[in-house]
């Protein structure tokens, strides 16, 4: 939801390590982060915040699971083995059995990039010249028609 960012952030975990000199915090063990309607579950979440400014959030899990209610009321869910969010760029990277679902629509690939600023979504593994494309890098999308047959 639009006002999720104004809500307090609640984090539960088994352990946490803060390192002021290196500017990071690592929450480990059954990590749950909640901010408004946004929920993230992982076994480890690292927050890089040099000079007290959050630069990136990296979540690892088997898989990492997250969900958030959109302004239209739909619930968007996602999962991947590795989720990275670059705060300044507002760019989300999902790697390893990545999946995004909203209601029944589903989008899956080994690698998904999503810009929370522009809403642009890229998926699949970039084709590298001279290298056979990776079959696992295929993208799968399932969209349910929203208009019923007249």
């Amino acid at each position: 939801l639009r006002d999720d960012v104004t809500k307090p952030v609640r984090i539960n975990a088994d352990t946490v390590v803060f390192n002021k000199a290196k500017g990071f915090a690592v929450y480990s063990g059954n990590v749950v982060i909640v901010q408004g309607s946004l929920q993230i579950r992982a076994w480890e979440i690292t927050i890089q915040a040099p000079n007290n400014t959050i630069q990136s959030i990296t979540a690892k899990g088997s898989p990492v699971q997250f969900q958030q209610t959109m302004d239209d009321g739909k619930v968007a869910k996602g999962k991947a083995n590795l989720v990275r969010y670059l705060v300044p760029q507002k760019q989300l990277y999902l790697d390893g059995a990545a999946e995004l679902t909203q209601n029944n629509d589903k989008f899956s690939s080994q690698h998904i990039e999503y810009s929370t600023r522009t809403g642009e979504l890229k998926a699949g593994i970039a084709r590298v010249k001279g290298k056979k494309p990776d079959p696992k890098g295929r993208v799968s999308a399932i969209f349910y028609p929203t208009n019923k047959a007249q």
């Binding site: 809500k7 307090p8 952030v9 609640r10 390192n19």
Partner: protein, 188 residues
């Protein structure tokens, strides 16, 4: 002349008997002297202030307390209602209070117990915070502060609770060992 001799003989017998009795039943000479004992307090302070300065003459820390006892043999020091004010690494004043502080021997670890409260003044780079717990152990050799008790941090950014805590002053690293619950205010 014979009587004097007999008298001297009797006297020497009596002296020998008394010295033997002293040795056997009362205290040995060594025990008679002021030998150190585990519980003997050699000095006691009340409503005191102690300031430690460093080579440049500035104050390293200031320690106030209601009572202080120092044990002769072990060098153990016990302070009731200690209040320590010192400068943290970034130069800000840190205040530590508790019901009691105990150092078992000179240069040994220091245990703070009973409503331990650590308060640090904020700077532009690090916010003011208070830390509260039931007890805190400071190891001067490893410069490590730790507890196994429940702990709570409060700062303008939010609240952080957990059980068990360790921080290495040299590495500027802080670990909460279990049951972590954090709530941070939104930054937008």
């Amino acid at each position: 002349m014979k009587n004097i001799g007999r008298l001297l003989f009797v006297l020497s017998l009596i002296v020998a008997a008394v010295v033997t009795w002293l040795n056997l039943s009362w205290k040995s000479i060594e025990q008679l002297t002021n030998s150190p004992s585990e519980s003997r307090i050699d000095y006691y302070l009340s409503d005191f202030t102690l300031m430690k300065t460093n080579e440049s003459g500035s104050i390293d820390y200031q320690l106030n307390g209601r009572h202080l006892t120092h044990k002769q043999a072990s060098g153990a020091t016990e302070i009731y209602q200690p209040r320590i004010r010192m400068r943290s690494d970034d130069g800000q004043i840190m205040t530590v209070v508790s019901e009691k502080a105990l150092q078992q021997a000179k240069d040994d670890s220091i245990t703070l117990s009973g409503d331990v409260l650590v308060k640090k003044v904020g700077t532009s780079s690090s916010p003011e915070f208070t830390l509260s717990t039931e007890d805190l152990l400071y190891n001067p050799q490893q410069r490590l502060i730790s507890t196994t008790a429940a702990i709570q941090f409060n700062s303008a950014a939010g609240t952080l609770k957990g059980t068990g805590f360790e921080t290495s002053l040299d590495e500027q690293e802080l670990r909460i060992l279990s049951n972590v619950q954090a709530e941070f205010q939104a930054t937008q």
